[in-house]
């Protein structure tokens, strides 16, 4: 990929003085760091990420969640009850049961241990309504757009509330099913055409057309 006085950034590795990309992607240089933007790949949790997960198991210490990563995440009971969990007084399934969907935040993860989640912030917690759309995690930045332009457009045009999980799951909740369907269609279009120019304008056009037809 390159040779010389650089440092190896994300998705790259060096051998002697030469730099190589370790996966298919788009190469970039920022200062003296070379990095590659992946076009495909799995989600690797990063502390601070918002992730949408599904409860797959209950343990004494907390809920085990599938967050679409190679590792199952744990949501500790103390997160939900705000105090030490007492198995005599509290019933874990009253709060979250297997199959429930949750918007959570990753608080810790380092590959040697499973990621730990929290729901003690506004906007986080159990999902009670809306649609979940699953896309490739590498396409999430496209759905958000530059400085949130794309997501802003989607919310404005469809009137839906959209929560994006960095793990490739997106929650769309709107006032009526038609709006939600429009937003979902738009998200799928974004995923398929993630790397075309003027995508934001294209989506704006698409959503406007839909509106005209509906009314």
């Amino acid at each position: 990929m390159a040779e010389g006085d650089y440092s190896a950034g994300k998705n790259t590795y060096r051998e002697g003085n030469r730099f190589y990309a370790s996966l298919v992607g788009l190469s970039n240089v920022a200062g003296r760091t070379i990095y590659v933007v992946a076009l495909r790949g799995c989600y690797m949790p990063v502390p601070g990420d918002i992730a949408i997960g599904k409860v797959i198991d209950l343990r004494l210490g907390g809920w085990i969640m599938d967050i679409n990563a190679p590792y199952a995440a744990i949501l500790p009971t103390s997160e939900a009850f705000g105090r030490m969990f007492n198995s005599r007084k509290d019933e874990m399934t009253d709060f979250l049961d297997v199959g429930d969907l949750v918007v959570a935040k990753v608080v810790a993860f380092d590959r040697t241990r499973d990621p730990v989640l929290t729901i003690r912030e506004s906007g986080l917690g159990k999902i009670s309504e809306g649609h979940i759309v699953k896309i490739n995690p590498t396409k999430i930045p496209r759905v958000i757009g530059r400085r949130g332009s794309m997501i802003g457009l989607l919310q404005k045009e469809t009137g839906c509330h959209i929560t994006i999980g960095q793990n490739g799951l997106i929650l769309v909740s709107g006032k009526n099913p038609e709006d939600e369907a429009a937003a979902i269609r738009a998200i799928h279009t974004i995923e398929q055409e993630a790397h075309t120019t003027g995508l934001t304008d294209k989506i704006a056009q698409l959503l406007k057309e839909k509106k005209v037809i509906e009314h």
Partner: protein
């Protein structure tokens, strides 16, 4: 009937250093994390990659790296006579050698406690399926976004009717004197698979090995081409997008 005629041409009309026609497609399967399909002569092989994902059963997971598993399987209809779909001795062996040929190229240490699974399905076989399988496996892994040091590539050479030839077909493999499949990591030239079936003299072996490596390099070009075909569109468009963004920034 000789496998190589007086003009030096083989049964399918190839010269001693020619490959069979190869067609590679990346990202064939929708549901798999990564996939590739290869047509190598009459071989038809489909490879699917899943992972990195959680390992089941859990106790197999490794604390320091990803568990790389590989299953080579021939469909019952892939051969002249029906093949029993249960894994045969040969398939178990091929699964192992393919795993060991490809694993050195993967950054398994980046995903401790996870597993990467590869499924190689031979839909139609025509000699040299392990080589075609390895070649397609590295592409499927790249398609899955698994970090790789290199695209491992494989090709065979051997001896048929007294001649050292590249990329043996099914008949040459069965009726010929020897078969030497080789897999290399093309960037470094490291050999990750080297087997020999049959008898060759020292000098013949040397020639066969070099011919196989030469074949690997030819296949590697096709490999890169296949990846580019799938992803070049994205590349070009991204560059355009970046340019537009830069212009926008300068205008401001």
């Amino acid at each position: 009937m000789p496998l190589v005629n007086d003009l030096g041409l083989r049964l399918d009309g190839r010269k001693y250093d020619e490959l069979r026609p190869i067609k590679i497609e990346v990202g064939t399967l929708e549901k798999a994390d990564g996939s590739a399909y290869i047509e190598w002569g009459k071989n038809r092989i489909l490879v699917a990659v899943y992972g990195p994902r959680e390992v089941h059963p859990r106790h197999l997971a490794l604390p320091d790296k990803s568990l790389f598993r590989c299953r080579y399987h021939m469909a019952p209809f892939s051969t002249e006579e029906r093949k029993n779909p249960a894994p045969s001795r040969r398939e178990v062996e091929l699964s192992k050698v393919i795993r060991e040929a490809v694993e050195p190229a993967i950054f398994t240490e980046l995903f401790p406690r996870t597993g990467i699974d590869v499924f190689i399905e031979v839909l139609q076989s025509d000699g040299g399926t392990r080589c075609a399988g390895i070649t397609a496996t590295s592409l499927a892994l790249a398609d899955a976004g698994v970090p790789l040091r290199d695209l491992v590539v494989a090709c065979a050479a051997g001896k048929a009717s007294g001649q050292i030839v590249m990329d043996l077909s099914d008949i040459e493999d069965q009726k010929g004197e020897a078969d030497v499949p080789v897999a290399i990591s093309p960037r470094t030239g490291e050999v990750t698979l080297l087997q020999m079936d049959g008898i060759l003299s020292g000098e013949e072996y040397e020639r066969a090995l070099n011919l196989a490596i030469q074949g690997c390099k030819m296949v590697h070009e096709l490999q890169k081409e296949a990846l580019r075909t799938k992803y070049s569109v994205a590349q070009a468009e991204e560059e355009e997008l970046e340019k537009a963004e830069e212009e926008e920034a300068t205008q401001k």
